[in-house]
Symmetry: C3
Subunit: 336 residues, 3 copies
């Protein structure tokens, strides 16, 4: 059901410290903490003794002590103390998960540790690239993560759901192109000489028509990179107007819940903290509209229980390709 | 499980306007709205594109626009716009339900549209009959609708549950007569020369004994009409004392929830707005007692899970006949 | 799943009076009330008529009247009134449960009434023994009752969970002895010349080392008696220092919820009401720590759904013996 040999965002780096943090990733309970040296540790969040969550315990040195009966595990998951006895059985260990800290986020490899290759982490380097400044955030969604991925791959919804910020009439009727290359699904919508949406006007101070670009990349299982450009009409310089990347990680929690980590990174007015604050507000407003719709959609799908057939439209080209790619990867993993 | 070829109350007329309203009827999601001319439209509340609830969208002209990706449907359920393409597949439509506005309520036909005959709507005309004035209300019950129908067909419960308003000792021991005619189950309790219950005293100002009538009609699947009379002892004129009709529509929502629409219509002191206000309060108090009991009964039945047998009493004559009639209609529909 | 031929605590005596009280015991709904003479009655809390909970009714004389349609039952469960008819069928009765009031608690026999022998009630007489004074309390736990029994049989958790009151480092590493005799599982931990935990210091005013005893007895299905002693080092007189009994009844409600009745009885400073009040607070604080851990453990076990194996430690000797004994009793009852 979930792709196991994959990196999932487990937390934002600042969320994890010397107090254990519990997260559920693809129905797997994880406890996160940092060693004295600051390294991040991710263990299965279930004491092998009586299944108490280790996240209710405390960190001691580089180890974590179960808050119930004191079973203690080092950062590799090996049990190093069982109160009342000297012998510790070899099988007394919890699973440890490879975790990599990169660009301010913690990435966890859910599958076979031998296959964990940091080079497979999707490139989200705009989050801390010199010359760029990023807004970030973390939302909890009561929805399957694929519904949130679909949302980002079919931006025609901006017209109908986000008229207060990034949507206007220009978007929904503009054609898209889609293709897959090197395992990445690309969805592109280029709108020439169109009015800017409200958030662009607010950000740039100009309501003159623009050439608007939405260049989207889907990387399985749950990543969407979206390059947005609002350029002077006719300009070929991507840095000649508004430009930002929206970086999205949809970490599945259960079949009906998701942790959503997002970043919006821009390369203009990067010292302008008022703009940074305004963009934070605008993104949170926009995503709150998505949350309401996605959660209603999830509930409607559950209630429908497969009775109604759905219809794909031309603008679903990207979502269809992406779902096909993910299904193929999951099927291949099930065969292996 | 539900009778499909039947009218169900979908909403009170004043609840439906130019903003979409969601209702669940027999586990079927319905969106209700009005056209520019004021006509009521009822559609399946599930966009055929990605199953977003249409009720989160907006009404434009006589059509409804999905709030997610803009699929648009006319009042017949036909899709008339898919953003980004000109071709609209013939199968792109949501189901439309016949709906009739009558006596201030909206009646929806859940089954085969060809069989929708407005003449089959139960007669609730006292709701706006000249010379009568009606209180009305809408409650949500966490209970199967049959438990609420049972409640109305065995009014012996007034003695035990409603001693503050319509119950006193006279009711529970009084015999009933029951019969079925023309598909209507009749339950009648006539109590001669008995004390009036508190609400009658408050309404009429008199505590003298009365001849009290409870003339009940059950119309499948979920309608109960109750004519109440409190007449001077020995009077044969139904309009010589207190007289009102209690009109009840129990619209199934799920197997454990129900929308309850009620009216109480009287033909005396019809200009007396203070009396109208007092009756509204009295009915709401009385029904709140029913709600508490019915929801506890529903929970107890679920917990019991069929382990305990129940016993019918003589006063259950009406509920037994009504359940038999409904079961026969549902069985006949299943055979057809 | 539950041992049926067993006594379960149904309520504290002061909770039951002339207003019906509902309790769920081993998934069986029970209504409790007192007769005019003060005797406690326990009946199946489900009217045989339409399955309304009798606990929503009222007590009249020694009988209970259903609050819905007035079916009335005497203290043996026999129906003695059905409104509207004289004949009462012989099978019109609800099950009555033997109930014994002892030491301030009400004990209910869930199984075959013929086998109800008050001599099988576990000895909790310290609750009202002359020369002793008891604190008592009642908690509701969202956890299976066996997890709470386990908690009391492995007190090594005091070190990790209760460092603010009864835990310190001395407990967890001290060995235990376990044995079973006369159907009682004994778990003993004797710690010589150890520091007293915070609550002992607060209670006795002394922080001198003590000989600390934890003498635990498990009586199936759900009782734990715990004798605690904090004696001057080297003393053989159990009454020479701090001594109390913690008496625990874990009444199963459902597979994931439990009613927990507890007492703490001491034989020193028994007139000291300030100490009694302080102990009440300390126990409630301590048990609130257990509740948080037990409920997290229950949730983690449910989420794990048997995927992870657990490991028994040496200090689990008591919990393993107790679970074995209970399983044997339930299996024997299933065979019989």
């Amino acid at each position: 059901m979930y792709l196991r040999n994959a990196w999932y965002v487990a937390a934002m780096a600042h969320e994890v410290g010397r107090t254990p943090l519990a997260r559920l990733i693809a129905e797997t309970p994880i406890v996160l903490y940092r060693t004295e040296a600051g390294g991040a540790v991710a263990l299965h969040d279930l004491c092998i003794h009586r299944k108490a969550p280790l996240s209710l315990g405390r960190v001691a040195g580089d180890a974590i002590v179960c808050g119930y009966h004191g079973f203690t595990y080092d950062g590799t998951g090996a049990c190093i103390r069982i109160p009342g006895q000297d012998h510790i059985p070899a099988r007394a260990r919890v699973r440890a998960y490879p975790v990599v800290e990169r660009w301010g986020w913690l990435w966890l490899w859910l599958g076979d540790p031998a296959a964990a290759d940091a080079a497979l982490i999707p490139g989200f380097d705009w989050l801390d690239l010199p010359g760029w400044v990023a807004n970030t955030g973390h939302l909890h969604l009561a929805t399957h993560y694929q519904l949130a991925v679909d949302n980002l791959l079919d931006l025609s919804h901006e017209t109908f759901l986000h008229a207060r910020t990034i949507g206007n009439a220009a978007v929904a009727e503009a054609p898209i192109t889609t293709h897959e290359a090197d395992g990445i699904v690309h969805v592109r919508r280029i709108m020439k000489d169109v009015p800017p949406p409200p958030l662009f006007v607010k950000t740039t101070g100009s309501s003159a028509n623009i050439d608007r670009y939405q260049l989207i990349e889907y990387l399985a299982p749950c990543y969407v990179r979206l390059e947005v450009r609002g350029l002077p009409v006719g300009s070929n310089d991507p840095n000649s107007g508004l430009r930002w990347w929206v970086l999205n990680a949809l970490a599945p929690e259960t079949a009906r819940t998701t942790n959503y980590y997002w970043g919006l990174s821009r390369n203009f007015a990067i010292e302008d903290t008022a703009m940074t604050a305004a963009l934070q507000k605008a993104v949170e407003l926009t995503f709150s509209e998505d949350v309401a719709m996605l959660e209603a959609q999830q509930a409607a799908i559950e209630r429908d229980a497969g009775r109604t057939r759905q219809i794909d439209a031309r603008l679903d080209g990207g979502t269809v390709l992406a779902r096909k790619r993910l299904a193929a990867l999951i099927a291949a993993e099930a065969r292996a």
